[in-house]
Symmetry: C2
Subunit: 367 residues, 2 copies
C-alpha cells in the first residue's frame, strides 16, 4: 500500500484511535493502558485515572471484536425470534426490540438478532450464535413452562435472562410484569362494580404467565369472597378467534357470567365479537377486562379496560440485567418484577341484573 493510500485511509475512513495511540499519548505501553482500563489491581490509581481521562478525551473505545479474539466476549446480546409465536407478541415487538437495543447501547453493547421457525433450528441458533462469539448471552422473550432454551443454555453455562418467570427458577434471572396482580385487581374492580359471576379466559398454557394469572384470578375471587365456578374458567386462548370461541362457551352457559376476565387483550377482543353476535352491549350487559394494553383495545368501542405493559422499558431492563450477569453477577440476584398499569376503559360497568339497584333502567338482565 502506498503512502498516499495510507494517508487516504487515515483521513477518509477517519481511522479509529487505538490503544496504541492512547499509550503513546501517555508515554505508557499498551499493556498498561489495557490493564488500567480493565481495572487491574497492579495499576496505580493515579495512572488509571490518567488513562481513563485520556481515553475519554481521545474518544477511545476498545474494538469489541479485537477484545473478543482473546476474551471470547463480544459485547453483544443475542435474541432469537420464534415465528411460531402467536400474534399477541407481534405488536410489541418493535417497542420491545427498541428497548433492548437502547438498554444494550447505554452499556456499549449491541443486539444480535436471529430467527428460527422449527424447534431444532431454535436450539441450533443459540448454539452457533454463542460458538461464533456473536452473542455473549441471550434474552429469552416469553418464558415457557418447560423451556428448551433454558435447558440448553443452563446446561452450557451461557448467561441468559428471561422475560417471564418460569416454574423452575433455579439459576435463572428474569424480568417480568406481575400479571397475577393485574388479574387480582381486575376481579376486585369487577367485584366493586357488583359482579358476582365472573368468568376467566386464560392465555397460552405453554407459557409461564398462564399459571400466574390463573392464580391471580383465584386470589382475587377469594379476596372478594366470590365462589369460583370451574366451568367458568377456560384455558389456552391466545388469538382473537380463540377468545371468540371461549367467550361463546361462557356466554352460552346455563348461568352465564356478567363479566369476563381475559388474560390477553386479543382474547378480550374476541369477547367483543362474541358479545356482538349475542347482541350484548360491552360495558353494560357484559363487562370485559384484558391485559397487555394493545392499541386495538384502546380503539375498540367501547375502549377496553385493561392493564398496559411498557414493553420498551421491559426490554431495556432485560438488557441491563443480562449485561450485569455477563459481568459476573449471580443470576439469582438479578430478578425484577414491576406492576402493570390499570387502564380503565368503557368495557367494564356495573353488573346488570334484577337485584342490582345501580343498573340502568333500560339495561335489563338477559334471558
Amino acid at each position: 500500500m502506498s503512502a498516499n493510500q495510507q494517508k487516504l485511509l487515515t483521513s477518509e475512513r477517519r481511522a479509529r484511535t487505538t490503544i496504541n495511540d492512547v499509550a503513546a499519548a501517555l508515554n505508557l505501553t499498551k499493556s498498561t493502558v489495557s490493564r488500567a482500563m480493565n481495572g487491574y489491581a497492579d495499576i496505580s490509581k493515579s495512572t488509571q485515572n490518567r488513562v481513563m481521562k485520556m481515553a475519554e478525551t481521545m474518544n477511545y473505545q476498545p474494538l469489541s471484536h479485537a477484545q473478543a479474539i482473546k476474551t471470547g466476549l463480544n459485547r453483544s446480546l443475542g435474541l432469537v425470534l420464534q415465528l411460531s409465536d402467536h400474534d399477541a407478541h407481534r405488536p410489541f415487538l418493535a417497542e420491545f426490540l427498541a428497548g433492548v437495543s437502547a438498554g444494550a447501547s447505554t452499556e456499549g453493547y449491541t443486539l444480535t438478532l436471529a430467527s428460527a421457525d422449527t424447534h431444532d433450528s431454535l436450539i441450533a441458533s443459540f448454539r452457533t450464535l454463542k460458538q461464533d462469539g456473536k452473542a455473549d448471552g441471550f434474552i429469552l422473550p416469553r418464558a415457557m413452562v418447560s423451556d428448551p432454551r433454558v435447558a440448553f443454555l443452563r446446561k452450557n453455562d451461557v448467561p441468559f435472562v428471561l422475560y417471564g418467570r418460569p416454574p423452575d427458577a433455579s439459576n435463572c434471572s428474569w424480568f417480568d410484569i406481575r400479571g397475577e396482580d393485574a388479574m387480582r385487581t381486575a376481579v376486585q374492580h369487577l367485584a366493586d362494580l357488583g359482579h358476582r359471576r365472573i368468568g376467566f379466559i386464560n392465555g397460552g398454557n405453554i407459557y409461564a404467565y398462564a399459571g400466574l394469572r390463573r392464580q391471580g384470578f383465584l386470589l382475587g375471587m377469594q379476596a372478594a369472597g366470590l365462589r369460583v365456578d370451574p366451568s367458568l374458567m377456560l384455558e389456552d386462548a391466545v388469538t382473537q378467534e380463540d377468545g371468540f370461541q371461549a367467550s361463546r362457551r361462557l356466554l352460552d352457559h346455563a348461568n352465564p357470567p356478567t363479566a369476563i376476565v381475559c388474560a390477553i387483550d386479543q382474547v378480550a377482543l374476541g369477547t367483543y365479537r362474541a358479545a356482538r353476535t349475542l347482541e350484548l352491549r360491552i360495558g353494560i350487559d357484559l363487562s370485559v377486562t384484558g391485559y397487555d394494553g394493545i392499541q386495538a383495545g384502546a380503539q375498540a368501542q367501547p375502549p377496553l379496560t385493561t392493564f398496559s405493559v411498557d414493553n420498551k422499558a421491559a426490554g431495556a431492563r432485560l438488557a441491563t440485567l443480562l449485561i450485569q450477569q455477563i459481568r459476573g453477577v449471580a443470576p439469582a440476584e438479578l430478578r425484577e418484577t414491576v406492576a402493570a398499569t390499570f387502564q380503565r376503559g368503557g368495557s367494564t360497568g356495573p353488573a346488570p341484573g334484577k337485584n342490582d339497584h345501580l343498573s340502568n333502567v333500560e339495561t335489563g338482565g338477559r334471558q
Copy 2:
C-alpha cells in the same frame, strides 16, 4: 492455568477448530490455508480443494471477529429501527426481521439491530455501528423521498440496500414490491366492476412509495379511460384515523366516489369506519381496496380486497443483495422488484347506481 483447567476448557467449551488445526491436519501453514479459503490465485487448485474439503469435514469456519480485526468486516448486517415510524410498519416487523436474519444466515452472516428515536441518534447509530465494526453494511427499511440515511451512507461509502425505490437512484441498490402495479390493478378491478368515480387515498408523502403508487393510480385511470377528479385524490394518510378522516372528506363530497383505492390497508380500515358512520355497506354501497395484506384486513367484515406483500421474502432478498454488495458487486446491478399478490375480498363489488343493471335490487344508490 493448570493442565487440568486447560483440559476442562477444551472439553467443556468444546473448543472450536481453528485455522491452525486445519493447517496441521494437512501439513500446511495457516497462511496457506487462509489464502486457499479466500481463493487467492497463488494457491494451486488441488491444494485449495484439499483445504476446502478438510475445512468441511473438520467443520471449520473462521471466527468472524478474528477476521474482522484485520479486514474490518464482521460478516454482519446492520438494521436501525425507527420508532417514529407509523404503525403500519409494525405488524410486518417480525416477519421482515425473520426474513432478513434468515437470508443473512444462509451466507454465514448475522443481523445486528439498533434503534433510534430522534433524527440525530439515527445517524449516530449508523456511524457507531460502522465504526465499531458491528455492521458491514445496512438494510434501510422504508425508503424515503429525501433520505438522510442514504445521504450519510453514500457519503461515507458504506454499503446499503433499500427496501423501496428512492427518486435519486444514483449508486443505490434496492428491493421493492411494485406498489404502482398494484394500484393500477386495483383501478382496473374497480373499473371492471363498473365504477367510474374512484377516489384515491395515498400514504405517507415522505416515503418513496407514495409517488409510485399515485402514478400507478393515474395510469390505471387512464388505461380504464376514466376521468381523474383531483378533488378525489388525497395524500399522506398513514393511520386508521387518517384514513377515517380522509374517507369522510371523500364521502362528504358533493359527487362522492363509489370506490376508494387506498395505498395502505390501515387507511382502508379507516374507510370502513367512515362508511359505518354514514351507514354505507362496504362492498355494496362503497368499494374499497387496500395494500399490504395485514391480518386485520382479512378479519374485517367484509374481508378487505387488497394486495398482500411477502415481507419475510423481502427481508431475505434484501439480505442477500446487501451481502453481494459487500462482496463487491456494484450497487446499480443489485436492484429487484416483485409484484404484490392480488387478494380479492368482499370489500369490492359492482358499482351501485341507477343505471347499473348488475346492482342488486335492494342495493339502491344513495342520495
